[in-house]
Symmetry: C2
Subunit: 200 residues, 2 copies
Amino acid sequence: MRTSPLLEQLMDALRCLPGVGPKSAQRMAFSLLQRNRQGGLQLADVLGKAMTEIGHCRDCRTFTEEDVCAICDNPRRLENGQICVVESPADIMAVEATGQFSGRYFVLMGHLSPLDGIGPSDIGLDVLEYRLQNEPIAELILATNPTVEGEATAHFIAELCQAYQVPATRIAHGVPVGGELELVDGTTLSHSLAGRQKLY
Amino acid sequence: MRTSPLLEQLMDALRCLPGVGPKSAQRMAFSLLQRNRQGGLQLADVLGKAMTEIGHCRDCRTFTEEDVCAICDNPRRLENGQICVVESPADIMAVEATGQFSGRYFVLMGHLSPLDGIGPSDIGLDVLEYRLQNEPIAELILATNPTVEGEATAHFIAELCQAYQVPATRIAHGVPVGGELELVDGTTLSHSLAGRQKLY
């Protein structure tokens, strides 16, 4: 017997969050009700607003509630003419965290996957093609994931760049810094050898 | 540089959930935005409603949006005259899941803890005392947690029962079913021996 239908609904609704099962949902619901109703109310408010207001940047397709995101809108980001192509907005955060990149981004929101019916226009390559054609781009850095689909997507975009005479580069694959050579898989090590750089 | 202040706010707000750190909050926010906006909107709606509407049952103090919860309101739950005293609403769910108990509950919403300034009236013992005085209660089953505070709380309530001549029982402590004797801690094993039951 259940004491509160609304509480049941809350536990069910919490399970839309990734990685939250029945036990975690119960713990979350009780924790908010017992200790943090204010936080719960604020989450409800921000969540509702975010789900309705956040759309995609007109230029780079990342998440933003504005028409154009803060990075694309920043004139200093335009200076070096670099555009870094990534698969998801989370990848932007990862690249930004390195502090090594001061250009703009282009977010595919996925990767090419013909078997799932995801073609070039589904990942915004029509928008990217328009930009390649009309913007002075100095370099397109392909930072898609080092997976089969990510590689295929990178190659597809590289051919697009060739057609419009825009230099394209791919991020390096190799042994992760701090890792141990004997624990690295064979494919990564092959890439690491093939991509070796001259020291002197 | 951040592309969306609202997205930042959402990630911050998600961290009010227990067990959710910066990485999980980011994953949750992106997952909802990319794949399940409908679920996110529903969560926002239910969460807001739950935080404002869910209060405590007048009789047993568990969470409910009604004046009296469904269990206390059920006349069949009144028949055997048993009341099970637990520390939290989650404990009700655990006891209900056994299917072994058909009486009513009383939820303390905590335990006695003089060092933290939590006294009898903070865990609703004034309400319980009123019920002991005015209701025909056949048995009060003390199912507080087997911790120092839980035990102290159980003893305190047992004395209250004695004052009003209401039979009180404590749930058994002992070796968990399916566990191995050699792995059980000494205190549990002592309880298990002291609480041994006659077989024939």
